[in-house]
């Protein structure tokens, strides 16, 4: 089975916010980098592309043929997608296990695991 892991940063400190990032100790910061690297090298993982901060998002809708653009993500900034990856695994248990290793999951964010429909 193929799963898309949607990484929601939530309150997770990231290097993009130096003030929040500084709340982590040096060791914790190193662990975050090391964990993401280890995950990206896990067999079955296809790393996602890096996303810029949700505050740089533009949301597009079309109503009556008119394109409407608004500043910011579709959901609240806090709930916005921070990153993603694809994981090919035997079953949901394996996917949950990988999701639990993603640093955002333990640092105030959450990972949504979505099976990919294959036709």
């Amino acid at each position: 089975m193929k799963y898309l892991m949607l990484i929601h940063q939530g309150d997770t400190p990231t290097p993009r916010d130096p003030e929040a990032w500084a709340t982590l100790s040096e060791d914790e910061q190193q662990a975050v980098y090391a964990d993401y690297q280890a995950i990206n090298q896990t067999p079955g993982v296809t790393p996602g592309l890096g996303l810029d901060d949700p505050s740089t998002a533009t949301t597009v809708r079309v109503e009556d043929g008119r394109t409407l653009t608004t500043d910011g993500p579709f959901v609240a900034v806090k709930e916005a997608l921070g990153g993603y990856l694809v994981f090919e695994a035997d079953d949901l248990d394996a996917a949950i296990q990988l999701a639990a290793r993603i640093p955002a999951a333990r640092l105030g964010g959450a990972v949504e695991v979505r099976p990919v429909v294959e036709y």
């Binding site: 089975m1 695994a89 035997d90 079953d91 949901l92 248990d93 996917a95």
Partner: protein, 389 residues
């Protein structure tokens, strides 16, 4: 119940689990099992039951499923069926059919499913209850329950929830989820709907059979048996009767003894989990006279294990029975359970014993504002009326 219903109840979970193991698809397995049971209902009364009813049911269901799949080749391509040889009727006996109920139980109680769906699925697949029966037991419309089951089954398939006993590193958490579902079913039944309590005990027995070395499985069954043994004494004319006022001749002594033996086994197996503590507490409550200091200590340990203020409330009640009413009141008043009617009922009772009548009256009043069950309400009204002016 007709004899056929008995067979149905005994065999449904096993037959369904074996079929899921074979077909790899819950819906298909359920349809096939229903087909086979329908054929049995039609044929057995006429021709007599086969020598090996379970093997007959599994084989018949398997053949039905194969027929169904032949009619739908696109579906067939998606199942494991193409890898297996055709099954023939009548040459299987029970011993070659693996018992896969445990796999099924862990699938149904997977934490990726909502708790109400876990409960409904467990009752449907292992208990063999119909959607209508489950809906009635949980007081929801049949259509709601049907949707809940369909959605849960779809998620199992679409999200890849595995059909297996979890590996060792996942087992403690997953077993806790299974035990919680069984105990939740029991407690739904304990509140008055007896058929659910009976169903939970059946599931508990299956669990002990399937996990003979697991202390908490034995402890949960012990706990349910001992509590259920007092059921006939718990209500008189629709009013709750407190343990100390219960007519002990109504207790099922044999069932309590069975519970105690299971508890001993759980202790011998070496665990000291929450169900063992609760079963030990239930067993001590069955003694006459009760050992209140020991009960207070066990409640204290259980409160530490579970972090539950409701358990601390019980601890307070035991402390009071052990003689320290002031100490019990201090414990109760430290709990954050403002919306819980038992807190106010317990506080009222303690205040009454300390002759603080006005405060007791106010506390009974608060408990009555919060209580939902009519049986509990009548009990509280009686206690309030007994207060001296």
């Amino acid at each position: 119940m007709t004899p056929l219903d008995d067979v149905f109840r005994d065999e449904w979970g096993r037959v369904l689990a074996a079929l899921i193991g074979f077909l790899g698809d819950l819906d298909l397995a359920e349809e096939a099992a229903q087909d086979a049971f329908a054929v049995a209902a039609e044929r057995w009364p006429r021709e007599g039951a086969p020598d090996h009813p379970r093997a007959w049911l599994v084989t018949t269901a398997r053949n039905r499923a194969i027929d169904r799949l032949r009619r739908d080749r696109t579906l067939a391509a998606k199942t494991r069926l193409l890898e297996v040889p055709e099954a023939v009727e009548d040459d299987l006996d029970e011993t070659v059919i693996r018992d896969e109920r445990l796999e099924l139980l862990f699938t149904c109680c997977h934490p990726a499913l909502a708790l109400d769906a876990q409960v409904a699925l467990t009752l449907r697949t292992l208990g063999g209850l119909s959607t209508e029966e489950i809906a009635r037991a949980f007081l929801v419309p049949e259509e709601t329950m049907k949707k809940r089951l369909v959605r849960a089954k779809h998620k199992i398939k679409a999200a890849g929830i595995p059909f297996r006993v979890p590996p060792a590193h996942l087992l403690p958490d997953r077993l806790a989820a299974v035990l919680a579902v069984v105990y939740l079913i029991f407690n739904e039944g304990y509140g008055g709907r007896g058929e659910l309590a009976g169903e939970a005990i059946r599931l508990g027995r299956a669990l002990v059979e399937l996990m003979p070395d697991e202390p908490e499985a034995h402890a949960l069954l012990a706990l349910m048996l001992i509590n259920d043994a007092r059921r006939d004494a718990r209500f008189v004319d629709g009013t709750v009767v407190l343990l100390r006022d219960q007519d002990r001749s109504l207790w099922d002594v044999e069932q309590i003894e069975e519970g105690r033996a299971l508890l001993d086994r759980a202790i011998a197996l070496g665990g000291r989990g929450p169900y063992e503590l609760q079963a030990a507490i239930a067993a001590l409550h069955s003694d006459e006279p009760q050992d209140w200091p020991q009960l207070a200590a066990l409640y204290g340990e259980l409160a530490r294990v579970t972090g539950s203020p409701v358990v601390e409330l019980n601890q307070a009640a035991a402390v009071a029975e052990a003689g320290d009413v002031e100490g019990a009141l201090a414990l109760v008043e430290g709990l954050e359970l403002e919306q819980y009617h038992y807190l106010h009922a317990t506080r009222a009772e303690l205040l009454r014993r300390l002759d603080r009548v006005d405060e007791a009256r106010a506390a009974y009043g608060r408990a009555l504002e919060l209580v939902h069950s009519d049986a509990e309400r009548r009990f509280l009204e009686l206690r309030l009326a007994e207060l001296p002016d």
